[in-house]
Symmetry: C2
Subunit: 320 residues, 2 copies
């Protein structure tokens, strides 16, 4: 993207921003579907100063795992890319407060990217729209994961349920959804590295499985837009990724079974796992699913966190 | 399906039914998407008699290629399956008038199946709904093509634009579409056998191509339902089937290019070809596309038929 060389009005000297965790893939939509949760998420505190450089002064909640070098940290990468685009070079200090687990399959790095790009845009007087911020945030994903995936960062930044129709050029489509749709997400306290979850996948798939998958993604989107919960439920099936990645998640089949028994429309792996999501059409159902999932994991000695959340239509927000 | 053993009221002794040609696959929706045209199509004349058996007394327009043996002809197969289901055995005579080219990629056998099942249901007093008739019509497709594809026969029988979400169980979803959507279809006078068009396809595809494809099918359905012509156009891309099958169609790239230059939203192969369809959002545009396509083929000495048709929401109809 060419530098703007635009003189922006700095609207304030500091800002605190929350950006939400996200569920990517959503069963049949590997690499192209995602939605935002109300919780958990990340907080970024950003301050302008006169240093002429970007610093990361503090990271909490990461167990010391994330780099404070701004050219290696996703938050620093997106801020520098954004400022280079504007053609401006104020000093920026960033605090990243991880309020969500790393490596959980809930888009931890995407939430930091989204919070950071939203925060610097606020500080610089909102020169760009959210849609215009998205390419910067996907660059943050490239820094964190090695590839510029958008299925977490797009819903984290834009809110709602999104389809990444294309990566080249980036084409993100907001999907209207039924108002009562609720997600239950369980994060088992085990770790799967995104690289491992990727390397377990084969580069080729059977055409007949792909046909099944694109029938289902078509059905899922049609069901979401037309408020057809029956169709959503029938379409929430993944015959390509879930059968492979679920091998990495202890008791996946049990958790999925109990979720469906409790009335879930469907249940699959969130992102690259180990978190698991279920969708339902009522908060009490989502609560029953949460209890049953957590109980199933506790039976085999695995602790977990559970989140119940309608789809977060807002995306990032300024706190305090 | 279990026999009904239901006593039906025979509503009349003869009926003449038209069922429409269809465009299957629709670019990115191989084996799962299809829509119906207003023309061309097939006509079936069906008469009840006291013979206690099904006969095919006449077939016109097929150049002698179709079998008159009712257990080998798609129309005979669907009628016998339907009557077995009802537990009744009247005599039935069928005339099939092919008003459309065979082996054209426009669902010729599906139109015969749809017309025949619609006609016998009319004659027997409409004991089944159109949705209930669909499994019989797909059996006709199995007789004609060796596999029970539904992406032609479902839109021919149900009308409109349909998604075949699943084949097992059969789950067909009607897709709401923009009212101004128009198809231009050109049938070059060359022949491709469905078996050849199938055998040229590989059994495996790259996962990354499948991801592109399911992004596009998601975009296409979203664009159709939300009346977003821009999104429809961006999504009408097939990176898996078209690059292979288009090799069998002379001047495919030229025809596609001129269609897009004339304002088509997208252009791809109809079914297994050699017919080519383009979608646009206005009848005058569809006309310009038709002229340009026909001219491009004439330049290389290939005659063609061209059809311009809004999506046919009705499906089969009783004539006369």
């Amino acid at each position: 993207m060419r530098p703007l060389n635009r003189q922006c009005t700095v609207s304030s000297q500091s800002v605190k921003v929350f950006a939400p965790a996200t569920v990517a893939n959503v069963g049949c939509g590997f690499d192209v579907l995602g939605f935002a949760l109300h919780e958990p998420g990340d907080e970024v505190v950003m301050r302008l100063n006169n240093s002429g450089k970007t610093t990361i002064s503090r990271i909490t909640g990461d167990g010391g795992k994330l780099p404070t070098d701004p050219i290696k940290n996703t938050a620093g990468v997106v801020v520098d890319a954004f400022l280079a685009h504007l053609g401006q070079r104020p000093g920026v200090d960033i605090e990243v407060h991880k309020k969500m687990p790393l490596g959980s399959g809930l888009g931890s790095s995407a939430a930091s990217s989204a919070a950071a790009i939203f925060a610097i845009n606020e500080l610089m007087g909102r020169p760009l729209s959210r849609a215009q911020l998205l390419p910067f945030a996907t660059e943050g994903e490239r820094a964190a994961c090695g590839s510029a995936h958008a299925d977490n960062v797009a819903p984290s930044l834009l809110g709602g349920f999104v389809l990444v129709r294309s990566y080249d050029p980036l084409d993100v489509v907001p999907i209207p959804i039924p108002k009562d749709l609720v997600a239950t997400v369980i994060h088992p306290h085990i770790e799967i590295r995104t690289e491992d979850a990727r390397s377990i996948l084969k580069k080729s798939i059977l055409l007949r499985d792909a046909i099944t998958q694109w029938g289902n993604i078509g059905g899922l989107l049609t069901g979401l837009i037309l408020n057809d919960y029956g169709l959503i439920g029938r379409s929430l099936q993944d015959v390509i990724i879930e059968p492979v990645r679920s091998l990495l998640i202890p008791e996946f089949d049990t958790i999925k079974r109990v979720a469906l028994e409790c009335g879930a429309l469907g249940c699959s792996i969130s992102g690259s796992g180990p978190s698991i999501f279920a969708l339902s059409n009522a908060l009490p159902t989502a609560g029953r699913i949460a209890d049953a999932m957590k109980y199933a994991l506790r039976q085999v000695g695995i602790d977990s966190d559970v989140y119940i959340s309608p789809i977060n239509e807002q995306g990032p927000k300024v706190l305090g």
